[in-house]
Amino acid sequence: MNDDPGPDIKRAVDIKDGLNPAENALWQKCNDRIKNAGYGPRLSNLYSELSILILHQFGAECLQSFTSSLSLVAVKASKSDAFLFCQATTLLIKSIPNAKDFSDFHEIVLELARKNPANLRALFDRGPNIIRQLGFERWLVWVESGVKLSINNSLRGEQFFNLISQESKQILYRQAGNFTFQLLERQLRLETRALFGITPILREIYDDKREVVKHRSSFSGKIFMLPSAYANSGNREIDTYRAASFHLAAHYVYGGGRFEIEKLKPMQIAIISIIEDARVEWLASEKMPGLRKFWKSFHSVSPDGIATAPSLLTRLSRALIDPDFNCSDAWVQKGKKMFFQAQESWTDPRVSRLIGNLLGHDLGQLRVQFNAKDYVVNPNYKDDNLGLWDFEQDEMDMSNQNELMVETTEFKQNKSKNGETQKNKEDDNVQEDNETGIVKTARIEEDNGILVTKLAEYDYQRRVLREDWVSVYEFKPLNGTTNYWQVLEENYSSLIRRTEKLVGAMAMGRKLRLKKQAEGEKLDVDATIEAAISYRAKKIPDTNIYEGNTPPQRSIAIHLLVDTSASTGEKIISSDRTILDLEKDATGILMKAVDKLGDPIAVTSFCSIGKDQVRIQRIKYFDESLNLLAGMNISGMQSQYSTRMGPVIRYTGESFKNVHALRKLVLIITDGEPSDIDVSDKDYLVHDAKHAVNYLKNLQIDAFCVALGNQAGERANEIFGKSRCVTINNIENLPDQLAKIYLRMTS
C-alpha cells in the first residue's frame, strides 16, 4: 500500500468547489458521521477527500452506503482496517467503471469484513497490482470467489488473497484472458489430433511463478501443459493457444529424446532450444505449409535494435522460421546461415545441439549478458523448453522455473515407479492409456475416495458460473447384505408382480396396428373392399389400402440419483424403518422393472460435506447387469452429511456420454431441500440446482424429481418445474409409487 493517492486527492479539492448545496449538505453529514465516530483524524481526513470523489463519480446513494460500510469495517475489524479500506478505495476508484460496480465492490468488501476481517489487509495489499493486470471487473470476480472460500476459514482466505493457494492462482489466471484453456481444451485436442495424429494429454498450468504475461507452455512427452490464459495476446488468444499446441506437438512428433545438459551454460541451453524449436517447426511445415506461415505471424521483433541477449535470441528465433527476415546483426546472420546450410540434416536432432553450441560460444565471446532468471522465450506461443532437457536436480539454476521442474520430475518419478521409463512411440496407444492413468487418475484420499471431476456451480446473486468450483469424489459402495434381492422379493412379492405386469403390458403395447396405410406388408381388407366398390361405382378410390404396425420406438436410458443425506436416516412416523430403507426398496423395485423393460439404468447415491467434497457412490452403471453386487451396493447405502444437488445433476450429464438412447432421463429421489454446511443462503443451492437442470436440458436430458414430504416438494417444484416433480407425502408409499412414476414418465 505504498501507492500515492495524491493526484486524486488534489482533484477532490477542485471537485468540492463545484458541488451543489444538496450534495454539499450530504457530504457534510457523512463527514460528520465519520468524524464523530471517533475513528481518528487519519481516517476522517482521508475519508473527507475520498467521499468527494465517490459523490462526484457515483452519486449520493453510493456515498451513503460506502459510509455505512466503512463504519462497519471499523467496528467489525479495526480502525486500521477501515483506513486500509479507505486507502484502497482511493487507489481503486479510478479503475471502477460505474456506480453498480462500485456498490458491488464495497458489498463484497463488507461481506469479507463481516465474516473474515483478518483477510482485508491481504486483499487490499495486492488489489491495485492485480487490477492493473486484469482490470476491475475480473478482479472483482476473483475477490468474490476468495470471500466465499474464506467463510469460516481465515487461513484459507489469507492464502487465497496472498496468492499462495492453488485455487486462488487458478481463479486469478483464468480471469486473465477472454479465452481460457478450459474453453479451448477440446478444440485444441482435436486440432492437434487432426494435424499430427496424436492425442495429447492437455493440462492447465496455473502455478507459474512469473507474471501472467510471461506464462509459457511446457511439455513432458505427450503431456502438454498450457497456461490458464494467454494474457495480453490482443485478439489472438485462440490463435496463441493453437500455435502453442501445434508447436508442442511438433516437438513430440519430430523431436528426439531429451538432450543431456552436461556442462552447458544457461545461455547455450536457450540457444540450442531455439534451434530445436525451428527444426521441429520446419519439419512439421513440410506437409503443412500453412503451419509455418501461421507460426511466422507471431514473430514481430524488428530486425534492428539494441543487441541484448534476449533481443538477439528473439531475432534469431524469427530469422530461423522466416528466411526473408533480414537482420543486420552478424551473430543472427551466422545462426541463420548455419541453420539453413544444415537443412539436409534437420531430421537429426543433434544438429540443433551442434549449431547451438557454436552460436553459444560466439555469443559468449561477445560478452553479452544473459540472465537466466529473467529470460522468457519469445514469441509467447513457444514453450519453456523444459521438456527438451534431461535436468539433474543440482543443475536447475533457472530458479524461475523451479516449480514446474519439480512437477516434471515428479511425473518422471511416477512413471519410473510404474515401470514406464522410456517413451515408446511404437506403443503409442498403450502409453496414452497409461499416461492418462497416471495423470488423470486423481489422488486417492485416505478413505479411498477418488476425485473424479471438478464441476461448476452457479451463483445466482452474481450471475456467474464458477468453473471447477465443486470437487466430486467417488467412494466405493459399502457392501451390504448378499440376500438383498431375496429379501426384497419376500417383502414386496405382490408389488413386484404387479409392477412386472405393468411393465409387460407396456412392452406388449409398443406395437400399434395401423389401418388404411399408403404402403405396408398386408392389404387392409376393409379398405380394399371399400376401394373395390369405389372402382366399380366409377368413383375415385382411396389408395390407402394397406395395414402395418408401428415399429418399436422405445429407446430410454435412466440415471437414478438417490439422496443419502443425514436426514434420510430419520425414522418414519409409526414405523421402525428409515426414509433411506424405503429409498433402497423403491430403488430395487424400479431397477427390476426397468431391467425387465430393457432400458439401461444407472444408480448413484449422493451426499456432500461442503463444496470441496460432494460424495457419490456408483451403485450400478448403465452397462453393468442387475446382479448380486448391485443388490449389495443398494443395501450398503448409508445416511450421512448434506444435500448438494446441483453438482450431482451436472455429473449425471457427463455419465450419459457413451449411452445411446433417444431419450435420456435423470430421476432424483430426495427428502429435503438442497443444503450444505458451507452455504448459509438457502436460495443459493436451489438456484444452482435449477441451473444444473437447465444444463441437462441443453444436453437433451430430462430431469425429474420424486420429493419425499411437503417441504422437499416445494423446493423441488422450484428446481424441476411442477410438471417434472412428484411429491409423495406418505413416504411409505414410495416403493409402490416409484416404478409407476417412471413408467408414466417414459410412456
Binding site: 482435436l190 486440432e191 487432426a194 494435424l195 506437409k287 503443412m288 501461421f294 406388408e521 445411446h660
Partner: protein
C-alpha cells in the same frame, strides 16, 4: 431389362485385386458383400463390374422403413381387382440381373432375412403372399454393401446373414492413388490434388475422436470440382469438406485448421 444395363463405362481405379475376385465370385454365383467406409467407391465398383460383365444392375438403397414387400413385391389394386407387382429383388431374380442392396444394414433385420433362401444353394425366392416360388435365373447375383464404421450396436447384420457372403474390404485408397483418382475424375492440377488428399489424411486422424469417419474420396472430388469452378482452395474446402461433416464446433475448427494449414 435394357434400362438396367449400363452402357457407358463408369470410371473406376482399382485399388487391389477386387476386380478379379469379384469376377471369380460371380462366376460361381456366390453372394458378395462390400464392406468399407462411405464414399470410398463401393457403388462405383459394382456399377463398373456390371458394365464390364454386361449384366443389368438393379440397385436398391436400403432404409429403416423398408419392408420385405418393398423388395419382393406386393398386391396392388387395379380396375379389375388386385394384381401382383414384382419388387426389385424379384425382378432381378426372375430376369438374371445383379441385385445390389446398398447400405443393407439400414434395413430392419426382419426384412433382410428374406434374402437367406437366395444366398444358399437353394437360390429360391418364396413369394408368400402370392403363393409362388421363384427359382433364381442362372445370371442372378446378389451384392450387398455395408459400412461397419458408423453402425451402432443396434444396426448390424445377423450372423446368419453375414455368413452367407464373401466379403471384399474397401478402404480409402493410398495417397498416390487418391491423387490419381482426383486427376482422372476432375482433371484438377496435381498440386491441388495433393493438398486435398493431405487434408483428407488429417481428417482421418479424427476418426473416433469426434468423427465416425474421415473425409471420403467422393468429398474430395466435390471439392476439386468446386475449385475448378473458380473457388479458392479454402472456400471449396469449407463448403465441400468441413461444413457437411459435422455440426460440432470443435471438430469443425479442427477440420478447418487442416484445410487452412495444408495449403
Amino acid at each position: 431389362m435394357d434400362e438396367y444395363k449400363i452402357n457407358k463405362e463408369p470410371k473406376y481405379t482399382s485399388i487391389g485385386n477386387e476386380v478379379s475376385v469379384f469376377d471369380a465370385a460371380i462366376s460361381q454365383n456366390l453372394p458378395i458383400m462390400l464392406k468399407g467406409p462411405t464414399g470410398c467407391g463401393k457403388t462405383r465398383f459394382v456399377e463398373h463390374m456390371a458394365w464390364k460383365l454386361k449384366m443389368p444392375l438393379v440397385t436398391v438403397s436400403c432404409h429403416e422403413d423398408m419392408t420385405a414387400s418393398d423388395l419382393v413385391g406386393r398386391y396392388l389394386l387395379g380396375a379389375d381387382g388386385t394384381y401382383w407387382q414384382d419388387g426389385p429383388l424379384t425382378l432381378a431374380v426372375r430376369s438374371g440381373a445383379i441385385c445390389y442392396l446398398d447400405e443393407v444394414v439400414e434395413a430392419r433385420q426382419d426384412t433382410t432375412v428374406i434374402i437367406h433362401s437366395l444366398t444358399d444353394d437353394r437360390r429360391i425366392l418364396p413369394l408368400e403372399k402370392k403363393g409362388e416360388l421363384v427359382r433364381a435365373h442362372s445370371n442372378f447375383n446378389l451384392v450387398i454393401s455395408y459400412n461397419p464404421g458408423y453402425q451402432s450396436v443396434i444396426k448390424d447384420l445377423k450372423e446368419s446373414t453375414k455368413q452367407r457372403f464373401c466379403a471384399l474390404e474397401f478402404s480409402y485408397p493410398n495417397k498416390t492413388l487418391e491423387c490419381e483418382i482426383l486427376l482422372a475424375e476432375t482433371g484438377i492440377d496435381k498440386k491441388t490434388a495433393e493438398k486435398l488428399v493431405n487434408v483428407a489424411e488429417k481428417s482421418r486422424n479424427l476418426k473416433g475422436n469426434g468423427l465416425s469417419e474421415g473425409l471420403s474420396t467422393r468429398m474430395l472430388v466435390h471439392a476439386s470440382r468446386l475449385i475448378q469452378q473458380g473457388l479458392d482452395f479454402q472456400e471449396a474446402g469449407t463448403i465441400a469438406l468441413v461444413n457437411p461433416m459435422t455440426d460440432d464446433n470443435d471438430v469443425k475448427a479442427a477440420l478447418q485448421t487442416a484445410v487452412e494449414l495444408c495449403c
